[in-house]
Symmetry: D2
């Protein structure tokens, strides 16, 4: 099948390339970048030398419409302008940005600070969290690939909320991310000298992933949840660690079994033994989400630890997973890499 | 004044040395280490070359009893065996380990896994958090220097609890520490290859700093608090970031003013402007605690961000602060270093 | 084919496992560790959860002799005691330690501080640098897998020496390694707090890889070379950067072409365009060696930059490459991973 | 004395501020920045909160001419336009950029890609390496503060060259720098995600510090030296490690004594015991240069290891040292900080 990538110069773009150049069913036919058009992709990303012989091209509807599938790894607000035309020509689309994630258009416009260009596509789009929407993804023309924090946090809370065993009004997610989540734009704050050997919270008054997570948890709960989200920037390249807090309201509930049962058939969620503390490095470069379940000192506070690689399960890997589902391939095809450790 | 350090080879020991070799009122007369006795201190810590000409010595009661003050920077359980004899000889003591922090002896014995050798000294000891116990410290013979997490977390919660404006039964501290908190012992888990480029929670079922924090918050609250504590290991050398969550129960309370007023006269607590996100590097090598106060989206969840350098305000710097108070020096003497940035 | 690994708990061991669990021709039948026997391999290395269901076993000649190939990822001095018996039973062996690398037994004994247990096997062993010894490797029963520094440095110097275009008496290699080269043993010097945010040379008076490199360069030169080797410890997990200096004695030699021609058919050596500066991260997790060739300001000093991942091309990846050659598989089978970037 | 800083927003600027706010003889009267004028300095650098109450101001000749001394911590090419007017008004100047370092104007113009605005000032300027030019610095109106690499490399080679004991035509410096040497400008290459967990050489065809070092070594040698310089970018914030190679031509020379004698009276050069390997972290935040001297395997290659903190001895600390000399203060005043370790 022919695959195109729009916006191949960022970190999610290069991570898609890493996975797709070795995917047995995929032929990459276009990787677009206005700024780098004409230049070999591997000249920007030397890790691809010997694996990909393709120059960046200008994003062109003609070229892209010859693809079976196009991934958008573009800044927010780009895909929504190009997607309708591609869908019209029968091209399927997976957007790794946020253009189609939030169903409520005013909410999207408030958090992303722009008018939405195609609300109809938002309505059609399927939120691409396979652990929730597998069947809909299989039939979708347009998939909104989840954000990185939303993937880690939702997988941590969903079993509790679906089972109705916690207070849905007091959910707290304290999340820690590596710096690659901020992308490859030059910015003072993400310089090694600014971001290494330090740690800080950011976006405490409000972060764009808050409404996305809240939408997912609210869908699972049936009514609106109360949710506090505090992201932190941590001095590493890859990895998200979400520490999820909830007050257990059910008596005699075995949280460990609840999680194991919920994810028993999921190829990319690994519920670890009771008492575990997953490390983000255990999923570095891998599409796995590892989860551990705690109830400290037997109290009524559940503490769920959920780790992913933000660029894989939190972006490119999950996108390929969605592709596999959409096109009927084995779900794990091309995304079974073992994490790099150490 | 003559000062001795027992256990000078660990990270709190060398940090004490960094501060004391430049303290204008201090003459270092003994730095003890059984394993390194006879060797120059600066041969182990070359940063001290040119600043200190003193060999490690065997810990000897005779030598130490000639000091006006002895710091213990030893593993837990060492100081409690040596302190009574020193106090008898009129030597004042500051213990940087945990031997005298917990007033309830059975609790201490449960968490530290050993019998306590001198409960009487525990009773006498003053918990050395200057922002709470300044007057008692000034009169103390024996000061129990607080732990690193307890310092950051208590300073984050105390104004809320003292003012009675939050639900004392649902306090959560999600804390992140650099690796130096684990000390200088050889251990696989703290190797650069294991601890860098990764992040994990640890001790979720229970951490020794939990009862220490709970004791401090309970003292402030007047009755026992409900408290969940989740520490995380993060890939940096120094720094603690405590993210403290509480449910606000008071209406019309201005949390920003509450914190500013509480710490207005404190030389080592810096309440930042509303909306701030303190970075741990802003206190690297400094004795300052920086705090920011948030109430996201105007809800009833208070989020307090509190950062310290675990080796300074969380250990050696606070110990020198206590020394200054005990001996009537200017409180800030010798501990006004500007943080190293970048 | 059945494969065993002796000493599977170190970094070269886990890296071998990462590669072998996904190698299409390999069935892992034994991973031995005295200290961890009985425990699942993935309990020590959670990145292997879901990829390998095998406990560590005691090293037993019976079990190992049923393998077609055994890798030794043991400390120096272990393999030499076990290898002869395995060879006698028809098992092929690749040793990732140094037991069979140095042909001159007194030299080996001097640098490794022990008597050699089986000089006859040393004589038989083939030095497993495929770019030099491909044909001999194909026929070998016993392969001595090269050290990490020796791989990077020899590939940097060999074209110059084979072509006879530099002064063989004044070769200098200034090499920089990540910390994983030191292995997974608990040691103070390799703690994150000791090794991060710092850089130092070590072993300047003499390092064990010096005689190994000198042997290889001397073989290529035809007579003994003069060689200075200075390794440095750098604050990262993986990667070696060798900066190789030589004085060009030939006139009108095009060094760029010399290198391109020498490695034209090599699947795992990538000679970059003139003027390049390879980054170690461009080979992180990959079996590639990338080389750039410089002659600054048109002078007579050649500066060759050679980067590898010390655990892959410098250890486990090269070992699998050797396995592929020994067993007649496609040389690149199972070791074509794209480097993880960022 | 009144001191001004032009260009206070970069890393050398904030490091100057860290040192000067605690210097007992200095009153900071102006810190200029066009882009940040009006904003408090500590709002950009929160480590200065509580230590400095001064806003950034527009660079104005009127304000600056009231100073006794002005430091320029500006990009190359700025100081040369403002310095003559300040000198005319009796203000002394220390330039931390490169405008006055190279005596040969065409050489400067070639490497810095611009015409020089005031060659006369270059002629007057004293190169501020105290270990070479102490007396001239004491009398200078204008000091050209040395570059970071040039400081570490010259101190490593000078004793050898002054004593005439090495081949002056084959000097090689392989230097490794932390990322702060690249300054605080937003650039993709210095992002944490690009520069951490990796190492690379750069500027091998030619680096601006090459002519500066060559000038210094040539001055010491009496005639032009042959010099190869290869800088490397390493994944840490601070620190330079210069590994200097030279061929010893003198027989029976004791290099260790040579270095100890040369620097016996220098407060900021520490010649370590024979066999040492200085770590960059042993000078982190300190103005010290530590040097170790090796002659591996008794051969004729001298290997000198020289480490500094690029922002202190390689920039701001050396500038304050020069200030102390120019104004007759104790040389070590205000720059005796102990390195932060760990």
């Amino acid at each position: 099948m022919k695959v195109g990538i729009v916006g191949g110069t960022g970190y999610t773009g290069v991570e898609l390339l890493r996975l797709l150049v070795q995917h047995p069913e995929v032929e990459l036919t276009a990787v677009t970048s206005r700024s780098e058009a004409g230049q070999q992709v591997h000249s920007l990303y030397p890790n691809l030398r010997g694996h990909l012989d393709l120059p960046f091209s200008e994003p062109s509807e003609d070229t892209l419409s010859e693809c079976d599938l196009v991934f958008f790894a573009t800044p927010n607000g780009v895909a929504m302008k190009m997607v309708p035309a591609l869908l019209d020509k029968g091209v399927k689309v997976i957007d790794l940005a946020a253009d189609f994630r939030i169903k409520d258009i005013p909410t999207w416009e408030q958090w992303y600070g722009q008018s939405h260009a195609c609300p109809a596509a938002v309505e059609e789009a399927v939120y691409g969290l396979p652990e929730v929407n597998r069947d809909a993804i299989a039939k979708a023309r347009l998939v909104a690939n989840p954000g990185c924090y939303p993937t880690a946090v939702q997988l941590g809370f969903l079993p509790l909320i679906e089972a109705g065993v916690v207070d849905k009004q007091r959910l707290i997610a304290d999340a820690k991310s590596g710096v690659s989540g901020a992308g490859r734009q030059a910015s003072v704050g993400m310089l090694l000298c600014e971001a290494s050997e330090s740690l800080k919270a950011y976006g405490v008054p409000g972060h764009r992933h808050l409404p996305e997570i809240k939408q997912g948890l609210t869908n699972a709960a049936g009514d609106e949840v109360g949710f506090t989200f505090v992201p932190h920037l941590t001095p590493m390249i890859r990895g998200i660690h979400a520490t999820c807090y909830a007050t257990v309201t059910a008596s005699d509930i075995d949280l460990q079994s609840l999680f194991e049962n919920r994810f028993a058939d999921e190829p990319f969620v690994d519920v670890m033994e009771a008492g575990s503390h997953p490390e983000t490095r255990s999923v570095k470069g891998s599409n796995m989400c590892r989860i551990a379940v705690h109830q400290p000192q037997g109290g009524d506070t559940a503490v769920i630890l959920s780790v992913i690689d933000n660029l894989v399960k939190g972006a490119a890997g999950q996108a390929v997973h969605n592709m596999n589902i959409m096109f009927g391939f084995e779900e794990t095809l091309g995304i079974e890499q073992v994490a790099l450790m150490p």
